[in-house]
């Protein structure tokens, strides 16, 4: 049995190189339009449905979905190339992010044929945006403790409870909600996933503001929301397995180390206008070496997914390393070129980008499962192996 922290070697095919060139050309066009601003954390904060649709027109949303459902059938490695280009450029991808990364693969894997035919083409067209409704007030790290309930009705389910930290629920179309359908001794049994229309009666979305003042998060109150039978995602009682499988997608991508990459680019732009000292260059080099090394690992996870494996331990490892680097990058950039972070400075200027990255920084190591929890997964994986 190969070690759970072994990573396959990756050789990107020639087609990926071509694809990269196409994405770069597209990004140049978009820069000229003023839509790509090189901002950090653009997969959380860069909400631009128009941009998402233009990407979709090129076949770059739902890329890994099969063609029969409107996808491009291009696999995880090619998708990787596209999304890393978008993230490195700080392109506004948050509108379609969750539907592309999670909802699409999840519906493909667990959904009914009807759900696939309905959702997947819309996702791939950049016309159907999803939120994740997992967390609750008392269920963060301990996700299995969710209290949202789904009661059986004549032709479906009635959902009651409150989801927290639901990114984008105020602008998206649907949320995949984890709810308890059956009481069971084993806390991991009796959970199920539902696709909830965020505009359905009984859904009340209440903003939760970030400390930057931005509105990205919400509390989503489900006050007796009727969900038809056809919107149960996967099998009743299989919610836990489905969610953990989904997390491999959620945890493995380049967004887990590139959120603050645009800030490093901004730093280099600043340094070009002065004469960088040897010490400054050395620190840039240390960050760059780490980025390059992490990218190899991250690509390894994509390659494993592409090969149909479920690299959970590897994904956890990359996410812990990557999200810590995102935070370290902000601190290091600040010390390489001491700059007071200023949210009121010209948008896109270095002090403004620094302020933005800093205000978002506590989230890097929390979202998608905290680093402490991830490290538990890593050591468990290795202990079971040894």
């Amino acid at each position: 049995m190969p070690s759970p922290v072994a990573f396959p070697d990756v050789a990107l095919p020639e087609s990926a190189r071509r694809l990269r060139g196409e994405v770069r050309a597209f990004l140049d066009e978009e820069r000229a339009r003023g839509t790509v601003l090189g901002r950090p954390d653009s997969w959380l904060a860069g909400w631009d449905p128009g941009f998402s649709r233009r990407l979709a027109e090129r076949g770059w949303v739902g890329m890994a979905l099969p063609t029969e459902y409107g996808g491009a059938g291009r696999g995880f490695l090619e998708r990787y190339v596209v999304i890393e280009e978008l993230l490195a450029a700080g392109a506004p991808v948050s509108a379609h992010w969750v539907s592309d990364r999670q909802a699409g693969p999840s519906v493909l894997q667990h959904g009914t044929e009807e759900q696939r035919r309905f959702f997947l083409p819309r996702i791939a067209a950049g016309q159907c945006f999803f939120s994740i409704g997992m967390s609750e007030k008392s269920s963060g790290s301990d996700l299995a403790s969710v209290a949202t309930r789904a009661e059986r009705t004549a032709d479906g389910w009635r959902l009651t409870g409150t989801k927290m930290w639901t990114g984008g629920a105020h602008v998206n179309d649907y949320a995949i909600v984890l709810a308890r359908t059956d009481d069971a001794e084993d806390r991991h049994a009796g959970l199920s996933q539902f696709i909830v229309d965020l505009r359905a009666p009984g859904v009340r979305v209440e903003p939760i503001r970030l400390m930057s003042g931005e509105h990205r998060f919400n509390a989503v109150h489900l006050e007796g929301v009727d969900v038809p039978d056809g919107m149960l995602l996967g099998r009743r009682g299989d919610g836990w397995q489905q969610v953990t499988g989904e997390l491999a997608f959620e945890r493995s991508g380049p967004e887990r180390y590139l959120s603050t990459f645009p800030l490093l680019v901004s730093l280099l732009r600043e340094l070009e206008q002065r004469r960088a000292t040897a010490e400054q260059l050395t620190q840039v080099g240390i960050l760059t070496a780490r980025l390059l090394s992490l990218r190899q690992l991250s690509l390894g996870v994509a390659a494993a997914l592409d090969a149909g494996a479920s690299p959970d331990t590897q994904a956890a490892l990359v996410k812990d390393l990557g999200t810590r680097l995102e935070g370290t990058l902000v601190d290091t950039v600040r010390s390489i070129l001491p700059t007071p972070a200023d949210p009121y400075a010209t948008p896109g200027s270095h002090p403004e980008l620094l302020a933005f990255a800093l205000l978002h920084s506590p989230g890097y190591t929390l979202r998608g499962g905290t680093n402490e929890i991830l490290r538990g997964i890593i050591t468990r994986g290795l202990e079971q192996h040894s």
Binding site: E272, T288, A289, L292, R295, T379, S386
Partner: protein
């Protein structure tokens, strides 16, 4: 610490059994870890307990790196990485025959080199032409890895007519033994007007000098990756087996946290080294970038890896009763050899700009 006695009975007796965290004292007594004839045999003698077979000369760089990493993991007492990844390829590139046995290298621009048989030259300074390329070499090759044990040392230096590569057998030099923190031989070779016959000298392109530095750094990074992996193996085995407060150490959250960071850091170094394998074979601008990144990352991670491994081993890890020191003392040594992280990080960043950073990062794989 350069005059330790060599007890040939204890050389090479350590076994690498990570399933046994508590190790009988005598099985791990590695006080004499300097190479002698037996220890060196591990390069070529695959039946020695720590043997890592020296890859064939036409192995790919990926295979060479894997072997070097394994040598690092097992603390193989022989210059396997030096031979396979540095000396042999350089000799081949320079068109010199590759001697049998363990080899070493020295990149020594500060040597004083003259023609042994100067020719009268109508132009230029006296001695800028020779009747042949036989050289007279004076100066010191500092801290040559496994100098005393190598059948030949490949030297890259600046001669009056440009960069040269030549080989020398260490017994022609005045050897002052030295060692690193892991007691691996690092010997100063003093050369006093040593005559190097023309047949052993090759004029080389300046790029080969560059390549030598890159190869040496990458070889060292691969060794570090191996030693890091050894730290992981030993630490996981130890925290699973050792019980305190009625539970294995590995059941404590705080222990898991640290252990995971160790595992991650080692994975990062491994990935950095592997990223350089293909570029080195195919050439191009990615070579400098990936090698610089590999050595930067390997050297920069060494401290954290050694710190966590020792912390989680508790007191036993600080002793010679336990093999952990074989890995950590090497990490501490190797991170400084062939350029430390400051040096390579600077090389890495110097050509980068806001416009080239991302394209550079994506030139590989």
């Amino acid at each position: 610490m350069n005059t330790r006695t060599i007890d040939t009975h204890t050389v090479n007796t350590h076994t690498i059994d990570t399933s046994t965290p508590v190790i009988p004292a005598d099985a791990y007594d590695t006080t004499a870890f300097y190479a002698d004839a037996d220890a060196i045999a591990t390069v070529t003698n695959p039946t020695a307990p720590d043997a890592v077979t020296l890859p064939s000369e036409d192995a790919s760089t990926a295979e060479l790196l894997a072997a070097a990493q394994e040598a690092g993991r097992r603390a193989v007492p022989a210059p396997l990485a030096e031979t396979a990844l540095v000396a042999r390829p350089l000799l081949r590139r320079a068109g010199l025959p590759v001697p049998e046995g363990p080899l070493s290298y020295a990149i020594a621009p500060e040597l004083t080199i003259r023609y042994a048989h100067p020719a009268d030259s109508p132009v230029g300074s006296a001695g800028c032409l020779g009747e042949d390329d036989t050289l007279l070499v004076t100066g010191t090759l500092p801290r040559v890895p496994w100098g005393r044990a190598a059948t030949a040392v490949v030297v890259l230096a600046a001669a009056p007519f440009g960069p040269v590569l030549f080989t020398l057998t260490p017994d022609l030099a005045d050897l002052a033994p030295g060692g690193n923190l892991a007691e691996e031989p690092r010997d100063d070779l003093h050369l006093a007007a040593l005559e190097v016959p023309a047949a052993q000298v090759r004029r080389i392109a300046p790029e080969l000098l560059d390549e030598a530095r890159l190869r040496a750094a990458l070889a060292r990074a691969a060794l570090i990756a191996g030693a890091a992996e050894r730290c992981v193996d030993l630490t996981v085995a130890h925290t699973t087996a050792r019980t305190q407060f009625g539970r294995p150490l590995s059941h404590f959250q705080a222990v898991k946290q640290e252990e995971a960071r160790l595992i991650e850091e080692a994975a990062l170094v491994r990935a950095a080294v592997r990223a350089a394998a293909v570029p080195l074979d195919t050439g191009g601008p990615a070579v400098r970038l990936t090698v610089a990144a590999a050595k930067t990352q390997a050297s920069a991670s060494a401290a954290e890896i050694a710190r966590i491994a020792h912390q989680l081993h508790g007191a036993i890890g600080m002793t010679r009763l336990h093999p952990l020191h074989l890995a950590t003392t090497r990490l501490w040594s190797w991170r400084d050899e062939d350029g430390d992280e400051t040096h390579w990080a600077h090389c890495l960043a110097r050509p980068l700009t806001a416009a080239t950073l991302w394209p550079a990062l994506t030139t590989t794989p």
